[in-house]
Symmetry: C2
Subunit: 297 residues, 2 copies
């Protein structure tokens, strides 16, 4: 598509008033204090060349909304930096974009389109804005807090293996390709928890980051890591689940007696570092705690 065609298509999507109809180089955002987050997805690194464009659009927006969810924010809208490609891909991308914006009640604020040199991998960026956020920091966990996680862990990691050719359920594939940001949970949790972040790179690595930012140690009980029935049928490997990325669940620190549907998976204590056990029996740390910007495709 040409830039003009693409922008005309964007104008058919929900537009934020700040976008001023996408007629300007800038947006004018007047929504009180804002939570701002940005994520870039690279073809061959964060998504596979074979992933449908529709799902890439979904994932690009959903990963950003997941960061807003972890701050308890209400999504205001997004900026999109998009490399124009072939028509079919662009159209499928726009369909996925419409789906994810509608599903999570989010709007277009602005963006930029570019043309890439031939054979360059697609690189897409979304910047998301949220309002009305309690915005717990990553570094607020206290010694004595429990570490909780929403939903189930490991589904997206299994979904990636399935996208790469392994046998497995469509449910797991969908967890990888169409993550669901926990916006409603984030709104409820954010005012009450001590620290919160989303699980994007893997439960272990993200828990270690929360502990480090908070100046405390964390011990994680592998036996408590919540697995879906689909994941149990796929492999049930808890260590693999805890080190796979792309879960987009919420990870938070709160008192031991905190009332929540989320699962307690660990405890914070004075000190520093991460330890792992299985119902009390020590487990050595794996060589990789999660995803750290190395190729995965």
């Amino acid at each position: 598509m040409t830039e003009a065609e693409f922008i005309a298509a964007l104008r058919q999507l929900p537009l934020h008033p700040a976008a001023r109809g996408l007629d300007d180089d800038t947006a004018l955002l007047d929504a009180g204090p804002l939570v701002v987050t940005t994520d870039t997805l690279v073809e061959g690194m964060h998504f596979l060349p074979t992933d449908p464009a529709h799902d890439v659009a979904w994932k690009l927006v959903a990963t950003n909304l997941s960061d807003l969810a972890a701050k308890g924010a209400n999504p205001e809208g997004i900026l999109l930096n998009y490399p124009l490609g072939d028509d079919a891909w662009d159209r499928a991308f726009l369909e996925g974009l419409a789906d994810v914006l509608t599903k999570f009640n989010t709007r277009i604020i602005g963006g930029d389109t570019v043309t890439l040199p031939p054979n360059a991998p697609r690189i897409l960026t979304v910047t998301a804005f949220g309002s009305d956020a309690a915005a717990p920091a990553r570094g607020g966990a206290k010694a004595g807090d429990a570490l909780y996680v929403t939903g189930t862990i490991g589904d997206a990691g299994a979904g990636l293996a399935i996208a790469l050719g392994k046998d497995g359920s469509l449910e797991l594939l969908a967890a990888y390709r169409r993550p669901q940001p926990r916006l409603a949970d984030g709104r409820i949790l954010a005012p009450h928890v001590h620290a919160m972040m989303d699980v994007s790179d893997g439960l272990l690595i993200d828990a270690a980051r929360m502990a480090r930012a908070s100046g405390v140690a964390v011990a994680i009980d592998l036996a408590r890591i919540p697995l879906s029935a689909a994941y149990r049928a796929f492999s049930g490997d808890r260590l693999a689940a805890a080190t796979a990325g792309d879960d987009y669940q919420l990870l938070f620190a709160a008192p031991q007696d905190f009332v929540t549907d989320a699962t307690p998976v660990g405890t914070f204590s004075a000190g520093f570092g991460l330890t792992l056990h299985d119902s009390g029996k020590p487990v050595p740390l794996p060589s990789s705690l999660g995803y750290e910007h190395a190729p995965r495709g």
Copy 2:
């Protein structure tokens, strides 16, 4: 550099309080109504593989600040989406980033780093935030207004030709590699003009865009287009100057008797479209009015 090394280096640059020390996935921005703009630069399209990393950093930030200048905004800070590469390039980029942030009193708010597949062109995105903007729209020009432009036009286009191997002055090369956003001019002009935008894709194409957004016609006098002494020495070609991109001057509509240092280069009238003349003598429109997302490297 690794992501951790790069973020550690960013922490040595001026940080916006919203960045919360770059310890979180999100920034918290509380600065009243905000002007937001984002630009992506692609290696081989918007900059040359041979352009120094130092200058790429400058240009990436400066092009975004130029959009803020056109709204009369005060720069608050930037988000940076950066592909980690080889150490020498990353370090030179960080030096250029420090220079441009310091020069224009701008700060880091946050961002994202990614790793690219081997041999992928670099793609860099900056999103800039400005506050306290009068924010004239692009579409406010009125029939009877004059069209004005700050500074001189065509220098960066000549600089690109020089970067590609032509003989010419370092001054012109600097205009291409180190554009100077007209932030101070924008602050002064924005509350008083009817419409304003920056000249990023070429004077003719950007003037046509302003006229279209405003629902009026514009006639441009080639003879009035302001050229630098360096550009006159290089070629002095006014049509080439008016269709080259990367000027990052401010283009604005204001009454004919508006008092300004900027140069009146045209007039708006009822109707639609763009016409060109040379001191009253009609000039046919060139086949390209400016840069429209086609390869240029």
